[in-house]
């Protein structure tokens, strides 16, 4: 079975985000970019499936600017076999919407015929939480989102999902889309030798036009602003003082 893992290049989760003064968006020039953390978990899971003999090939795909090839090399260094870069933008500030990403991914799936797509639950930049669900809709495949456990057995996958009340386990028929949550695994670090090896692994470059997908946005960004600041608080010196303040504020 082939596993396809879409990986997104996003601002590193440790970077403090700055909204541009003119309200046109968030400043992404010269900031540290990394693989979306959820996608590292997806790549890790795909590699584990290969190590367990369940999968025989792990293909990673990224859609966006040319620089996304760094993200793909990173996935190859973790242990993916092959990468596809779909160039769909030339400005790092252009975010391709989940619907367009899903359409491109559908075209990639049609070509590659994977038995499983493992995506992240959410990209930490646009916080959409949508692409995996949209891709499964376009393919007419089952979806198992927010996975914290995954077991593949023949042509079914049993997935435990993180839901509001706790955990839900479902079985889906393969091929399927699974989106991964934080507790599925702990991604490995790429070792130096593997980083070197990854430079020689195949990375195919395509464009959105190759797949005939129109990536123009459906949501026009009217403006981007800073969230409301909280007024500065105070430090209290003791529990007694804390309780007094809370009583004054009517909070207890």
């Amino acid at each position: 079975m082939k596993v396809l893992v879409p990986v997104k290049r996003v601002i590193d989760y440790n970077v403090k985000v700055r909204v541009k003064a003119d309200g046109s968006g968030v400043d992404l020039a010269n900031v540290k970019m990394s693989m979306n953390p959820f996608d590292e978990i997806a790549v890790e899971q795909a590699i584990r499936l290969k190590e367990a003999g369940t999968a025989d090939e792990v293909v990673v795909v990224s859609i966006g600017v040319k620089q996304s090839q760094e993200t793909l090399r990173n996935a190859l260094a973790m242990g993916a076999d092959r990468a596809i870069l779909v160039v769909a933008a030339d400005d790092v500030h252009t975010d391709i919407e989940p619907l367009a990403v899903a359409k491109i991914l559908k075209a990639v799936v049609d070509e590659e015929q994977p038995g499983l797509v493992l995506a992240g639950k959410q990209a930490i930049d646009n916080d959409m939480n949508a692409t995996g669900q949209m891709l499964s809709a376009l393919l007419g495949w089952p979806q198992a989102t927010f996975a914290s456990e995954l077991a593949v057995d023949g042509d079914t996958a049993t997935v435990t999902r993180e839901v509001d009340g706790g955990l839900q386990t479902i079985k889906v028929k393969m091929p399927a889309i699974v989106t991964v949550d934080l507790r599925l695994n702990e991604p490995r670090y790429a070792s130096l030798p593997n980083i070197m090896k990854a430079k020689k692994k195949p990375l195919e470059e395509k464009t959105a036009a190759d797949y005939g997908v129109d990536v123009s946005p459906r949501l026009q960004i009217v403006g981007t602003s800073e969230p409301a600041e909280r007024a500065a608080g105070i430090k209290v010196g003791s529990i007694d003082e804390l309780v007094e303040k809370l009583k004054e504020a009517g909070a207890v």
Binding site: V17, M128, V163, R218, V222, S225, V236, L246, V252
Partner: protein, 309 residues
Amino acid sequence: MAVLLIAEVNGGALNVDATAKALTAAKALGDVTVLCASEGCADAATAAAALDGVGKVLCADAAEYGHDLAEPVADLIVSLAGDYDHIVAPSTAASKNILPRVAAMLDVMVISEVTAVIDADTFERPIYAGNAIQTVKSADAKKVATIRTSTFDAAGEGGSATIENIAAAGNAGLSEWVEDKVATSDRPELTSAGVVVSGGRGVGSEDDFKLIETLADKLGAAVGASRAAVDSGYAPNDWQVGQTGKVVAPDLYVAVGISGAIQHLAGMKDSKIIVAINKDEEAPIFQVADYGLVADLFDAVPELTSKLG
């Protein structure tokens, strides 16, 4: 404009809080019809019909809607979509699973986690863990959106909408429910509680998390946790507050042994009053806390528990 609001129904019962908050956003868009899809949805439909501002309730009662499986519920919503300009739902785990599927089937974008309705096409939503607020105007024929409940007040009761039973839309059988592991608790629900007490990695163990729970019970509060506390096994996953967990905005939020990473702040910084207890005076949580106490939680929490009430 006609709006279809997907009610949050759990085990046949309406989640009134989540549904009533999303209803407030829905009412700003047009005339609201509520869809209750569940196995045995009569009670939920009756409860939804009593919400103020609901014009009609559709009740789809079928076994395949019993466990919020995305594929059959999405098929049902799409079969009804022709009559509506907007399809909205509270942004619960269930609707985050289902609505993007619906949107793609309709060839429209989903607008996730709406925090403000500007007009019928224009919405605000947080991005980058709430570090920026984006205003987006949809060019799609239909708008499919999830509503962040923590930013809307719940609509009241007093409605008397008609209830219409509708046929199920079939089940392609792509996925199958196996089991739910849901802990029942007498505590208020995290996303609707007036007070939340959360513990982080500083609490140190599952056993010591009892300190957090005892304080919460004294305050009639829900219990929350940081990701680190959940990952370390001190607390169950459904207690996680943050960018990728639950978003809460209670009147009082008490953060104990939590450093205040942006991903955690994303889930609680709209709380009315924030209290932080942390032994590190440099912890970023103090930047958002109204009342900060630099102390060892193992001294401070028992003392606070005993001095309240």
